[in-house]
């Protein structure tokens, strides 16, 4: 009974959008020699994903490996950023002196493209892989500090009054009030951080090389394999979307 309505309201619009997207792509591909059309790209993708985990030496590995390596770098850099950024955010939010001390530095460094930190990473670590992780770390740490600190600062005075009236210890205030009240903000920070981290990894890997989706794009550009570049764009987009959806679902469990 409501299947038609569901189809009309929820499935039809995105399907029309995807259809139009493909049509525009086809028209553009028709008028340009270099740009491959949807069909050609699709065939290439089927071939590519039929063997995603092959290994022919360090510079020729399957798309699956490239994605996993990139995710691994993001995972490590991001986890380190969370490990340092979230406690730092709590301190910045709770201690006004430290907030005032650090806020000009954070405000100045935050708008800097994380890639600008790559040479510093290369210099310090003398290797490409830790340098890429370092860039991810830098790009993820700002939203985590800023959002956690904001959550701590916006803690309702009611809750703090409860803490004061009950005379709770600092530890109890942290575990029973501060942490749960800040959690939604923290998760927003984490979501923003993973978004930027995934944006930045492609560019960072283009510069550092090695196995990874970013370098793979660059490599395919050197091979003039444009189908693969387009496939990479879709892959990066879909993986980013999945990461975001995972975190949104996770965050929903902690909203009151």
């Amino acid at each position: 009974m409501n299947i038609r309505r569901y189809f009309g309201e929820h499935l039809l619009p995105p399907l029309i959008g995807a259809g139009l997207f493909i049509v525009v792509w086809m028209i553009l591909a028709q008028s340009s020699e270099a740009l491959p059309g949807p069909m050609k790209t699709w065939n290439s993708a089927v071939a590519l994903f039929s063997d995603p985990f092959y290994q022919n030496g360090p510079n020729d590995q399957g798309i699956g490996w490239n994605i996993l390596y990139s995710l691994g770098r993001v995972g490590v850099g991001f986890s380190l950023a969370a490990l340092i950024g979230i406690p730092a955010g709590f301190i910045v939010g709770r201690v006004q002196f430290i907030d005032k001390m650090t806020s000009p530095i954070i405000s100045m460094l935050r708008p800097v493209s994380p890639l600008a930190w790559l040479p510093i990473g290369l210099l310090v670590f003398q290797a490409a892989n830790p340098a890429a992780i370092w860039v991810i770390f830098i790009s993820s740490i700002w939203p985590m500090i800023i959002n956690t600190a904001m959550g701590v600062r916006q803690l309702p005075t009611d809750y703090l009054n409860v803490a004061r009236v009950l005379n709770l210890s600092e530890w109890k205030i942290f575990t029973k009030i501060l942490f749960p009240a800040t959690l939604p903000y923290m998760l927003t920070g984490i979501r923003l951080a993973i978004g930027t981290a995934w944006l930045v990894i492609v560019a960072a890997e283009m510069l550092t090389g090695g196995v990874g989706i970013g370098f793979w794009v660059w490599d395919e550009w050197n091979n003039l394999n444009v189908e693969h570049i387009i496939i990479a764009i879709f892959v990066v987009g879909i993986v980013g979307l999945l990461l975001e959806m995972m975190l949104v679902r996770f965050a929903k469990r902690f909203s009151y």
Binding site: Y159, N161, V162, R164, V165, L166, K172, K176, P180
Partner: protein, 263 residues
């Protein structure tokens, strides 16, 4: 007279952008043990400020506040506070909300089972045993306020401080909770200071109604002794001449002596 809570020459001023704002001036009040006091006045008269001073959430600019012969130097579990908007922690169950307070006060001297029993008893006192494992968003406004009262009472405070505890509730729930509060206070023999806007609530519940003048520099205008016998019954009082005389006195103070244009 037994001086359980002593407020002497208290003055409270806040520094604002327009300069110093004197909220309270020359406030002196003595409260006996087991007494039920309501503070009534127009909004902005500083009655909540006075309550927060007793709670220790604010420090007076001048004057002294004592509770059981000890100076009030900050918030403490000897003064249980019930907030206007219940202020329960949304991520804890009703049981855990109350337990947090119980643990703080008795955790050092009592075992786990005893603490749980205390929590259970406090919720039983407000008839919420069935909702122990519910979260605040799962229960009604009146029930939340009852958990707030249970949390304050569970600490076995010397004084129970209530800041318009029923202000956000509908009239029927409010009446029900007032009746329940009267029974609890009788059972526990608590000393209560309550802020209210509601003339009927003030006369029904109090031993004395403290009427405050309008701010700035508000102070205590009159104190009305409510000598109605307890237990009080709202139905019987509805036709009681003396009750109406007392009620009239409060109304006269608020709307004649301290008449205020609607803000």
């Amino acid at each position: 007279m037994n001086r359980y809570v002593l407020i002497e020459d208290v003055q409270m001023s806040f520094s604002t952008r327009q300069g110093l704002y004197v909220a309270l001036k020359d406030v002196s009040l003595t409260i006996a043990r087991g007494e039920f006091i309501t503070l009534i006045g127009h909004s902005g008269c500083g009655k909540s400020t006075l309550l927060n001073l007793v709670a220790g959430l604010l420090m007076p600019s001048d004057g002294i506040l004592l509770c059981a012969e000890r100076e009030i130097a900050g918030p403490g579990p000897d003064r249980g506070v019930v907030f206007q908007n219940h202020s329960l922690l949304p991520w804890l169950t009703c049981f855990d909300n109350v337990h947090l307070a119980v643990e703080r006060v008795f955790g050092a001297t009592e075992g786990k089972a005893q603490l749980n029993q205390r929590t259970h008893d406090a919720l039983g006192l407000v008839h919420l045993t069935h909702a122990e494992q519910k979260y605040p968003h799962e229960i009604s406004g009146g029930m939340k306020q009852r958990v707030g009262i249970a949390r304050a009472l569970a600490m076995q405070p010397k004084v129970l401080l209530m800041d318009e505890p029923f202000g956000a509730l509908d009239a029927l729930t409010r009446a029900h909770l007032q009746d329940e509060l009267m029974k609890i206070v009788e059972k526990t023999n608590s000393t209560v200071i309550m802020v209210t806007h509601d003339v009927d609530e003030a006369v029904l519940l109090s031993d004395r109604v403290v009427m405050m003048t309008n701010g700035p520099a508000a102070t205590i205008g009159e104190i009305l002794k409510v000598d109605l016998p307890r237990p009080r019954n709202r139905l019987a009082l509805a036709n009681d001449v003396h009750y109406h005389r007392l009620r009239g006195a409060v109304l006269e103070f608020l709307y004649q002596k301290q008449a205020k244009d609607a803000a």
